[in-house]
């Protein structure tokens, strides 16, 4: 069974149709990349999948592990294993990063009928995962994203993902604003999480990220639809040619 199956998805934002019948299937253990020009609907897809209510689903269906994802509340989707690494992570003043993550971990555990995590065990877990993505340990006690640099915020998203261990990690332009060293670390963090029972949907503008996180499948998203699907070499092709020439397919 596919991990994620999207059929004929139509999404409106403020009355305008952005996704116009998108189909996408992701098998367990696979890394899919979505590329495409601005305004094509990449971030809309990410937001619609996590259940942002500013994104109105007008048609289509989404199955996650065979369950109707669109019927679930956003927090339920997260507890079932969907994770979004935000393009613009928000700040939550006064709430420590660790405290926040602990609330998230325990909400997920409760959903699966597990007891709350032991405090010491949790502390060890976050320290280990912070090291893995080279997140400065000082940022663990700081308020969530407050005063973090752009790179630190993105790294923090990957850190959250590595603590929460979702079965689907959606990364929305995680590479934007990262220098090459940060890009490498973030990618290593993602690669370390690759597993047979975990998939990724990597949204990016640039082929560069895909040198580090090597995808199994690459899609081109334009004007609300997937217009082309191929292997990792498709990313290189796009890098050379740009998106022109795909437009005909999209029409």
């Amino acid at each position: 069974m596919a991990l994620l199956e999207i059929r004929n998805l139509h999404v409106n934002v403020e009355g305008a149709e952005i996704l116009k019948g998108l189909d996408l299937t992701i098998e367990p253990g696979k890394v899919h990349a979505i590329m495409g020009p601005n305004g094509g609907g990449k971030s809309t897809l990410a937001k619609a999948l996590v259940g942002d209510d500013a994104y109105e689903i007008t048609q289509g269906e989404v199955l996650f592990n065979g369950q109707d994802l669109l019927e679930m509340d956003p927090e339920e989707r997260a507890r079932e294993g969907v994770f979004l690494g935000f393009q613009y992570p928000v700040e939550i003043p006064g709430v420590s990063n660790t405290y926040f993550l602990k609330a998230a971990v325990n909400a997920i555990r409760k959903h699966h009928g597990q007891d709350e995590i032991d405090a010491m065990e949790f502390l060890e877990l976050v320290r280990e995962r912070a090291r893995r993505v080279k997140l400065d340990e000082g940022l663990l006690q700081r308020p969530v994203n407050e005063g973090f640099s752009g790179g630190e915020k993105k790294r923090n998203e990957i850190f959250h993902m590595s603590v929460l261990e979702p079965s689907l990690g959606i990364l929305d332009e995680t590479d934007s604003g990262l220098d090459i060293d940060a890009l490498r670390t973030v990618s290593e963090g993602v690669n370390a999480m690759r597993a047979d029972d975990r998939s990724f949907l990597v949204i990016t503008h640039y082929q560069r990220l895909l040198d580090y996180i090597v995808p199994d499948v690459v899609h081109v998203l334009m004007d609300g639809r997937i217009v082309k699907t191929g292997g990792k070499e498709l990313a290189h092709e796009l890098e050379r040619q740009g998106y022109e020439g795909f437009e005909d397919n999209a029409a």
């Binding site: 259940g51 507890r79 959903h111």
Partner: protein, 482 residues
């Protein structure tokens, strides 16, 4: 309507959980205010002649004072003649000697509020001076405190047993004619708390009073006086909640603090009076004057307040820093929801050299709540090297509420250094989505965000009180984001 808007509305529509009424036979005067009523109150309390004269003087002043109208709140004119100015539980003479003697019905009231006295006494080691209606009905731990020379009793008792202290300090921080409501209080105050900490004594426990307004149409005029002698320390907690009533209830308290050389007073309040219903009906009018005099060198006065109740709040806990190197602090969280209105803030008056003040104000407005921060920082010509730091943050939940900030500065010494920071934020749908996307439920997300916003104030509260305050905020805002 978005999911979070719904959550906010669900939270804010929650009924007032502390709304219930206790029946106790009362000993009260007919509504109305005149010199005879004041004489009645004074006689009832067996007061010395000078105090009666003091009250009458305040009353005569009050008659000639205009009711203030500069504050940013709206309410129908108060009919001061329709208020009854005295109500006391019966058997004034044989007041209970220990908690066991307290009327079971009163204890039940406290139990409903989740603050059983005996548990507090045993678990928290808190001495409780409970003001029920206008007369204190319970005072505990008195003996233990007395061993160190600490006086913690009702104001009525202090007038009988420590008249010299009361006479020396009453009205010295807030004069009788300071303002309209303080003058009214001076004329008709019925009871309150009195604390005296002798020289060099560090009060071994948090002193606490639970106020509760219970008689319909009875104005409450509490008068509290705390004196900290040289090099002493005291932390005082004030927590309040009132039963649900339809009539507006006027509350005009006066709290005076005096800290002498090297003394420190920490005064913390959690206020949860009935805010009125969603149409703005009912609710307490809370017109309070609170002021501390950091009289001695190196003295410190700190106000911390968490205000979630009352229909109308008019309150500016202030510090006059007269001693050199003295310190004034004001930490506040105020919540206005439903149709609550609050005009609140502080005054920091720097007179001595090297005086320092800190203001941290956090305002949360939800539904149709309106809130004003009004703060004054005055640096007198004598206040060499004075410092002030002010931070005023407002959080809005929904689009019908409002937040306004009026900071006033009056600087008369060029060596002063002042910093002011202000922010207004809307509790973001994006912040909530971020929490949801990590698996955190919406209600937990709101409480997480709000508690984070208020953290700098909560950490100033004594431990148990901080927990209580967080819980109160959670209950209050359980359904208020948008």
């Amino acid at each position: 309507m978005s999911a979070s808007t719904e959550t906010i509305e669900r939270f804010t529509e929650k009924g007032y959980e502390a709304g219930f009424v206790t029946n106790i036979e009362e000993d009260r005067v007919e509504p109305g205010l005149n010199e005879d009523v004041i004489r009645f109150i004074s006689a009832k309390k067996n007061e010395p002649e000078w105090l009666l004269e003091w009250r009458l003087e305040a009353y005569r002043n009050w008659l000639n004072m205009p009711e203030p109208d500069w504050q940013y709140v709206h309410y129908d004119p108060i009919d001061f003649q329709s208020i009854s100015y005295y109500a006391a539980p019966k058997r004034d003479e044989d007041r209970p000697q220990s908690l066991d003697d307290i009327d079971p019905e009163i204890r039940e009231t406290y139990n409903k509020l989740g603050i059983p006295l005996h548990e507090q006494e045993m678990l928290a080691g808190v001495a409780v001076d409970a003001v029920f209606d206008s007369v204190s009905v319970a005072t505990s731990y008195k003996d233990r405190l007395a061993e160190q020379g600490i006086v913690f009793c009702s104001m009525s008792e202090a007038v009988q047993e420590h008249p010299e202290l009361v006479r020396k300090y009453l009205g010295t921080v807030i004069p009788q004619n300071d303002n309209y409501f303080a003058a009214l209080n001076s004329a008709v105050f019925t009871d309150g708390s009195f604390v005296y900490i002798p020289k060099g004594v560090r009060c071994p426990m948090e002193l606490s009073t639970y106020f509760r307004i219970n008689a319909a149409n009875t104005g409450q005029f509490e008068r509290t006086l705390i004196i900290a002698e040289d090099s002493s320390y005291v932390s005082y907690l004030e927590g309040c909640t009132a039963p649900m009533r339809d009539e507006n209830q006027l509350h005009a308290a006066v709290v005076e603090l005096v800290a002498l050389d090297n003394a420190e007073i920490k005064y913390s309040t959690v206020q949860n009076w009935y805010p009125g219903d969603a149409q703005g009906k009912g609710g307490i009018y809370n017109f309070v004057t609170k002021r501390g005099l950091a009289a001695g060198d190196n003295s410190k006065i700190s106000w911390t307040q968490v205000e979630t109740g009352s229909a109308i709040t008019w309150k500016y806990p202030s510090v006059v820093m007269r001693g050199d190197n003295s310190v004034g602090e004001f930490y506040s969280v105020a919540v206005t929801r439903l149709r609550q209105q609050a005009d609140t803030g502080t005054k920091m008056i720097h007179l001595g050299k090297n005086t320092r003040s800190t203001i941290v104000s956090k305002g949360i407005s939800a539904q149709e709540g309106q809130q004003v921060y009004r703060g004054l920082v005055r640096i007198a010509p004598t206040a060499e090297n004075a410092r002030n730091y002010s931070q005023c943050d407002s959080m809005l939940m929904g689009s019908e509420c409002g937040a306004h900030t009026f900071p006033y500065l009056d600087v008369n010494n060029t060596t002063a250094q002042l910093e002011h920071e202000a922010t207004t934020s809307k509790i973001g749908e994006d912040q909530i989505l971020y929490c949801l996307s990590r698996g955190i439920a919406e209600e937990d997300a709101v409480s997480l965000i709000v508690n984070g916003f208020c953290k700098e104030v909560f950490r100033e509260l004594p431990m148990e009180f901080a927990v209580e305050a967080q819980k109160l905020l959670e209950i209050t805002l359980e359904d208020s984001v948008g």
